[in-house]
């Protein structure tokens, strides 16, 4: 789905030792697999983002196993302790096997 555009909010700079707040959002329908097509009565197959991972310089900082009970356009907020300058990479994994990524650089001074 081309419309699954991730959005991430990370402070550009932080002081060493500060705990920063990271907000992420991806547009996605998060079809639960519980709903039925109103016309045909057939169940609509599940299609959700099932995994979210955040890494800093290649090391996992935070991750979420996502279930269908997470709302459409999943929003995830979490924290990280800023120790050094580096790259934050965010990955969302779709049920269909596709994954979406976003990257942000954090400068620590």
């Amino acid at each position: 789905m081309a419309s699954s555009k991730p959005r991430v909010k990370v402070p550009k700079t932080a002081k060493k030792g500060d705990v920063i707040e990271i907000k992420t959002l991806i547009s996605h329908k998060m079809e639960t697999g519980q709903r039925k097509d109103k016309k045909t009565g057939k169940p609509i197959p599940r299609k959700i983002i099932n995994k979210f991972v955040a890494t800093f310089d290649g090391e996992q900082v935070f991750a979420v196993d996502v279930e269908p009970a997470v709302s459409a356009n999943p929003y995830i907020k979490f924290n990280m302790r800023a120790e050094k300058t580096g790259d934050l990479v965010f990955t969302w994994v779709d049920d269909d096997g596709k994954s979406y990524t976003a990257k942000k650089t954090l400068t620590v001074n």
Binding site: E59, Q60, A69, S71, I76, F78
Partner: protein
């Protein structure tokens, strides 16, 4: 007055029973939340405390209910929160999300938005790095359920 035949009587009873069954079911829809929690803890004891759940008391729209969970912990290499599972006890399926933290998280706090099909309890269970488990539970009253269609 026409006498009711045996066949008619049976069909009336059948209808009444069906209505009763449909009416009762959603109110006591027990799901797999106990299994999800015991799988998470491996059957170990879970203590109350340390975990706090931030949820609205009344959710007008069950499609998007803001949820925040935090766990008291110094979040050092030797003492941190490993994982937190969030379950809802009357959704079609109990699991909501499992958050994986690390010492680099700084604080064990996460927020998201969840679907709630009806008024129910939301439970969070945290696994600490020393193998202990803590939990918190909160009820959310839902005005419009979030599993329509």
């Amino acid at each position: 007055m026409k006498q009711i035949t045996r066949r008619q009587a049976l069909s009336i009873c059948g209808c009444a029973l069906t209505v009763a069954a449909i009416g009762v079911r959603p109110a006591f829809a027990a799901n797999d939340h106990k299994e999800v929690i015991s799988k998470f803890t491996g059957g170990k004891d879970v203590k109350e405390g340390k975990v706090s759940l931030e949820l609205p008391e009344i959710a007008e729209n069950g499609n998007t209910v803001p949820l925040s969970v935090s766990v008291e912990s110094p979040m050092t290499k030797d003492n941190y929160v490993k994982r937190v599972v969030v379950v809802a006890d009357a959704n079609p399926r109990a699991g909501v999300a499992t958050f994986h933290f690390s010492p680099a998280s700084g604080v064990a706090e996460a927020s998201t938005r969840m679907r709630l099909a009806q008024t129910q309890n939301v439970i969070a269970v945290a696994e600490m790095s020393d193998g202990a488990f803590y939990m918190a539970k909160r009820q959310v009253k839902v005005t419009i359920g979030g599993c329509g269609g």
